[in-house]
Amino acid sequence: MSAAKEAWRLSAATLAAGVGAGDLSAAEAVASGWEGPAARWEADVHAVAHTDAAARAAGAAMAQAAGAKGALQGVPVLVKDNLCTTDYPTTCASRVLAGYRPPYDATVIRRLREAGAVVIGKGNMDEFAMGSSTEHSCYGPTRNPFDLERVPGGSSGGPAAAVAYGLCPLGLGSDTGGSVRQPAAFCGVFGLKPTYGRMSRYGLVAFGSSLDQVGIFARHAGDVATAYSALAGPDPFDATTRRTPAPDVSRWEHGVRGLRFGWPANLWREGVEPEIVEGLEEAAASLERAGAQRVPFDFMPGGFAVATYYLVATAEASSNLARFDGVRYGFRHADSPDVRSLYTRTRSAGFGPEVQRRILLGTYALSAGYYDAYYLTAQRARTRIRREYQAAFARCDFMLLPATPTLPFRLGEKTEDPLAMYLSDIFTIGANLAGIPGLTVPAGMTPGNGRPPLPRAVQLLGPDDSEPVLLAAGRALEVHGDETRLGRRHETEFAWPMKR
């Protein structure tokens, strides 16, 4: 029985094998996370926005009854609150969707269930995925499990933190400008943003339609691969998915011998914290030890991507969020005597300040007279940015770069300065604009020196459909790392009590 109690420590693959073999039940697999880590840490971290025991039990029973040996048999998964689920509310952490229960499952949720996984609840997030700290949630902030004074990153902070502290081995988020890779970095877990068009967006509440991709959190590279195989691929309900089957990532342990990795050192010459640069150097060394070759070159500074992103993403958001009007679902302002006030009062009271700020910005970028100067220019800049990446990938198989310019920052540190907050996505945004995949790989912890050690991470970017390469490289860093640093795995990380 104690084996079942410790099940939360297992990788998704091992857990699925155990449940498949009947060593433990799906219900026990789910319970181990709640009775172990969650009991100790959830109250402080607040990673979960919605859950209830009955729905978890039903999910576990369904997985058990299915009996099939799904790749994720009995594996508990916390999914971001912007993925539609029939068994939990889906509110995007926004008042405007208070209590909303969708009548349908997102395609990725359906595929999770088909693979035998158990959805255990909805992860906290920045409202409508607009933010980089999970502070902009109508349910209050999520905190970084490694230092409760600090943010877990965002917008998918809830699932990232939950996977980090051990509630579940897998989480789903969404990545529009780094919302999976940045919190993965802050929480010390793997975070994959797939190639645009590889993960169905059907049932993912849209933010920036041409940038959004569902992403995967896990503590092991292999688990990311397993989840990707189960979820990725064409969907007749999403016309932006690619027609061809998703790339085969089953050889994630294949290694990196003979691969060339780009080293755009100009990007971190300034404005990047030293611990992060240190992590990069160590990661590059491990990749070389594993047989990969370093190809140094300069790359376009991230500032252009940030500028482009905040025009494209807000324009699309202003359109996507027009449907929240108090007519068909969600919140309606009690005092709405006419249609006009129904709209303005419902939306003004329903959306938080950051969401309103971005809706206004996007509306401006699309409005008559400014369209060419802003939205059209941004879409042209985007073409230029994609070409920059194509040129780079003509010289290497993938790029190694920071996931974030800083270590996890303190709560409230950036909420007053939107632009500063936006700039924390400077290394992740490019991939969304170009549609290419990106993987955040944990790079061990900072040396505490008095304060709690914090997770470090690096990011890998590759051309379209390079998920197999990225996961092989991520795995290489997982095992070939310097034992004292990169190689520290969760047994040790979980050993620290919640000291501040």
Binding site: C84, R201, Y202, A239, T240, S319, A322, F324, V327, A368
Partner: protein, 487 residues
Amino acid sequence: MAHEAVIGLECHIQLNTRSKMFCGCPATFGAAPNSNVCPVCLGLPGALPVSNRAAVDAAIRLGLALGCGIRRESVFARKHYFYPDMPKNFQITQYDQPLCGGGVLPVRIGEELRLFELTRVHVEEDTGKSFHPERYGDRQISRVDFNRAGVPLLELVSRPVFGEPSECAAFLQALRRLVRWLGISDGDMEKGQLRCDANVSLRPVGQEALGTKTELKNLNSIKGVEKGLTAEIARQRKVLAAGGAIEQATLLYDADHDKLAVMRTKEFAHDYRYFPEPDLPVLRVEEAWLATSRERLAELGLPWDVEVQLVRDDGLPEDQAAIVSADRDSLQCYRNLVSVGLSRKTSANVIVNVVRKYENKYDLSPAAFEQKVPWKVLAGLFLRVEQAEVTATGARGLLEEVFEKGADPTTLFVTGGTAVGGAEELLPLVLAAIEENPGPVAQYLGGKTATLGFLVGQVMKKSGGQAVPQTVRELLEVELAKRAPGA
């Protein structure tokens, strides 16, 4: 100073596809409110559109029929405005890169064939329906039904090429005929399957530049279009005559009271914030798709071409040619009748005076008519008329029996109504007629042969219209010859 009107039309054609434009809900009507809906057409969070091939195919068919250029890569766009019956608060439509560009609709007005130029035809989605405010407890509310939301529409925009409301009416009739002909819509304005907005402006005769235009909405019948436009042109004339200026505005036409109401003025003009729909890929129409559409259209032919052929090759009068080519069923029936040896003239007459007459009188669909009187049976009857076995009057009587008394035509049309043909039956009537009309007889014998017609008529009367005039004529001549002086 004399002013002339310049009118442009914007028509919406509701397609008769099985499913909606961007989801798999039924596009049919009459279902309980909000029961033909799904996450997509309700605009639920997370739902995404996927384009319906059949709707695009219908647009291509109409585009080719109108001689439009078909864009190989056209783009869907979002058009933003808040309205309770619009689920996403934007409409998926096409903007700067529509599927079809240019084209003309040929319309016969009196003697001449006018070619009205078009700007574009594009694909878009319909809105739901919101109803007039009603009392609800101590307040007013409106009800909203989304069954219609997402039903495919084609928007067709004309250039400002109309000078007269009557031309617009003729244009709409021709458009309705075309969409029915192509089988893409029933085009019934009363049912909202064909909708029309109009832009109207006046300008001094001879001036090139257009005056300030107003937009006229809610023209939901062809009559309404004509009346509404007439009213608005009159209104603008008054304003200009009084030295005033036209204010750019959108007006609603109330057909019941023949009144115009200003709905929106310039300062409230919308800023639609169009941008390319990111959830839909560029709409690509491969060569193969175009080729097949062209072939299918070539086989089908176009109503105005067929109409010309009917006049030129079949020698039908123009008004009959128009009716016979009004829709594919009438034309098919006409061709069937001709195929079994009925003369073109008779066949056309049957379409106009029998098929159309009874379809309209009893509001029968072509299918229902065929049900009641299969075309072969109908052909049989009129072949007998042509062979003088039955008279026109006799045939009319038989049709009445079928449609009024519900008799079964199959045997009736083969045996019934046989003309009183033989001399032995007719002779008594002929002799009687001669007895009763000494005057005309004398005139005839006196050389005024025209009176023979009168006498024939008398005999026909006696036969209850069942006699064959030619036989009567011959008998009379023989009998009268006997009475000729010196006979």
